[in-house]
């Protein structure tokens, strides 16, 4: 009996996977999506999968999206599972986002500032009305954007505030930052570890947590000091050379949230910073990350930490969607044995209760 069940199970699984492959492909009368099309035309999905998959490779991310039928958590999972097999040659030097080739840069704290507001490619200010013209089969390519003037220098807003002593400085640590991809989370988690965890955390989860801090579950008074998106150079120092070489360029989004007052009678009030950085163009994620980063600093800044977003363990243990989806979905696995013992136990308890009631 048991033997038959196992064999039947194997055949069932093979059939299910064949069925999945057919569903993934959809109507064979329609042309198959190419990985290039996904990479080019679903670029924000690709960015999200790279961030949550913690692997910067647009082609692989696009492939993962295709294979996952557009399920972005599944795609991030595929990408993580792939990246873990790769040998590690080097760690990059810190990215210099101050030297970013900027495509978008906005500040909500100053109407105008050196370098100006650069709106760039954004959904902001579009009216969310379905554009039925896009449903047409042969969409004409839109005209190229007006060439931007030679980029001005764009000082960071947080730097402008720091000149006046209004922004709390960030001290560079001496210690090598921990590596979440090689070591398990450990608590209390210092900020470098927290930021790593948030950077690959689930966008939806961080969004909800960041939102909760705005609605009173946390002590947030945030302003977007600056969001910038564009290309930065990645450099490594190969040990055999001993000096930095450029290995390429990636797109990142950085958000610096300016938060109201810390300070007390002994310390003058100051602005404090929440920081978000993600692969690709992922503004919502970078903003949510900056809100949650600031919330997680509550304890170090001497604030009362009672809200979910201010709890390090709560946030960091639950923000990884690959871990979370695994454990939630594992409930689909057989639990026959445990459930059988539950059945026996509840029958026993009910029998006792009914007997007592009858007495």
């Amino acid at each position: 009996m048991a033997y038959v069940a196992v064999k039947g199970g194997e055949r069932a699984i093979e059939a299910a996977h064949a069925w999945l492959a057919r569903e993934r492909r959809g109507d064979p009368g329609l042309p198959a999506l190419t990985v290039g099309q996904i990479e080019q035309q679903l670029g924000l999905a690709v960015d999200r999968v790279m961030a949550e998959g913690a692997c910067h490779d647009r082609g692989l991310a696009a492939l993962a999206i295709k294979q996952a039928r557009g399920d972005l958590i599944e795609a991030a999972f595929l990408l993580r599972a792939y990246r873990t097999t790769l040998p590690r040659f080097a760690a990059s030097l810190p990215l210099d986002t101050g030297a970013m080739r900027i495509r978008r840069r906005i500040s909500a704290t100053y109407k105008d500032l050196p370098g100006g507001q650069v709106l760039g490619p954004t959904f902001d200010y579009t009216h969310r009305l379905l554009d039925f013209a896009l449903a047409a089969e042969d969409e004409a390519p839109p005209p190229p954007p007006e060439a931007s003037a030679e980029a001005e220098r764009m000082p960071r807003v947080t730097g402008i505030l720091a000149q006046e002593g209004l922004m709390q400085g960030e001290v560079a640590g001496e210690a090598e930052p921990p590596d979440l991809t090689r070591e398990p989370l450990a608590f209390p988690a210092e900020r470098p570890l927290r930021l790593q965890s948030l950077a690959r955390g689930d966008e939806g989860f961080l969004l909800a947590l960041g939102y909760s801090t705005q609605r009173g579950y946390g002590n947030a008074h945030p302003f977007v000091g600056e969001i910038r998106m564009g290309e930065v150079t990645v450099e490594i120092v190969p040990p055999e050379l001993g000096f930095a070489i450029e290995i390429g360029e990636i797109t990142v989004t950085e958000c610096q949230m300016v938060n109201q007052f810390a300070g007390s009678k002994t310390e003058p009030p100051q602005f404090t910073r929440g920081y978000g950085l993600t692969f690709g163009h992922a503004e919502r994620k970078a903003m949510a990350m900056a809100l949650v980063d600031r919330a997680l600093r509550a304890r170090e800044l001497g604030e009362e930490a009672t809200a979910p977003a201010e709890s390090e363990e709560f946030v960091l243990y639950h923000c990884d969607n690959v871990e979370a989806t695994g454990f939630v979905e594992h409930l689909k696995l057989p639990h026959y044995v445990d459930f059988q013992s539950e059945l026996e136990k509840i029958r026993q308890l009910r029998a006792t209760a009914l007997r007592e009631a009858a007495e």
Binding site: K111, L113, P114, Y125, Q163, G216, P269
Partner: protein, 283 residues
């Protein structure tokens, strides 16, 4: 139904407008009280003025003249977007002149030019609940409003003075309306609070995401919370406008370089341009 847009006048259907108008009437009848309403999905994101847009869409008529400001200015991106939206779905005339507008939708400012009877000021409100930082549970804050139990808000002001020597609220400074309801004035600078008091215009507040509407009818008492020995003090930058020279208006700080250079200009662009025009005419 307008053939040009495929949408009803003002975007919302008439049943929705009627529902919102009923909420507005109730709000006017109970100044400062938050009235729940069936906020609709709008073609702009939550937090970008969906509440104000729904209120404006419900009160606007073809003869109205609409002004939209954000941060006091008509030319900020969000104001431009909302003004265009109404030009498109209602086809009404728009204006940048405070004095000429019958409806002014605003985010974060009250115009410097004194409003008059018959004008409607529509505020976009992100968080209608003035107590939310002190008590995040909505069921509990509703009870506090019902019982006029506002001691906690004064405790917050007390704590600020004990810590900083001043009340540390610079915008969204809570007000007491008609001696009964504690109200969020929306995130206008505290500088603007006194303009709400006994204002001849009708002030309507819409919070789309939180699904609340509230109102301050014309000539209603609006007091900023304070202590007798620490009276409410509106704050503005200690400077004059670099363009029109005003020392009375609320100013934006503009950073001119990264060596600490900065100038101040009026946040209310209509007010500033009006002053500049009069100065040029006088010369």
């Amino acid at each position: 139904m307008s053939a040009a847009t495929g949408y009803n006048f003002g975007y919302l259907d008439e049943d929705t407008k009627r529902m919102i108008r009923r909420a507005l009437l109730k709000a006017v009848a109970i100044p400062g009280h938050q009235v729940p309403f069936g906020s609709r999905e709008m073609p702009l994101p939550y937090g970008w003025g969906t509440g104000g847009i729904q209120v404006t869409a419900s009160v606007i008529g073809p003869a109205d003249r609409l002004k939209v400001i954000d941060q006091g200015a008509d030319d900020t991106t969000n104001a431009v977007s909302i003004r265009r939206f109404f030009a498109r779905v209602a086809g009404v005339e728009t204006t940048e002149r405070t004095a000429e507008a019958s409806i002014i939708q605003t985010r974060h400012r009250i115009p410097e030019t004194t409003l008059r009877e018959g004008q409607i000021l529509v505020y976009q409100v992100p968080m209608p609940e003035p107590l939310f930082r002190l008590e995040p549970r909505v069921a509990e804050t509703k009870r506090m409003h019902a019982l006029a139990d506002y001691g906690l808000m004064h405790v917050k002001l007390y704590e600020d003075i004990a810590r900083h020597g001043h009340v540390a609220i610079s915008y969204n400074y809570p007000v007491m309306v008609n001696g009964r309801y504690l109200m969020s004035p929306s995130p206008i600078p505290a500088f603007d609070n006194p303009k709400m008091h006994r204002n001849p215009a009708l002030q309507l507040f819409g919070a789309g995401r939180e699904k609340r509407i509230y109102a301050v009818p014309p000539y209603t008492e609006v007091r900023s919370l304070d202590f007798e020995d620490h009276p409410f003090e509106p704050v503005r930058a200690r400077a004059g406008c670099a363009l029109c020279g005003s020392r009375e208006s609320y100013l934006d700080e503009v950073v001119t370089d990264d060596a600490g250079g900065r100038i101040f200009v009026c946040s209310d662009t209509d007010y500033c341009q009006g002053r500049q025009a009069r100065q040029e005419a006088a010369e």
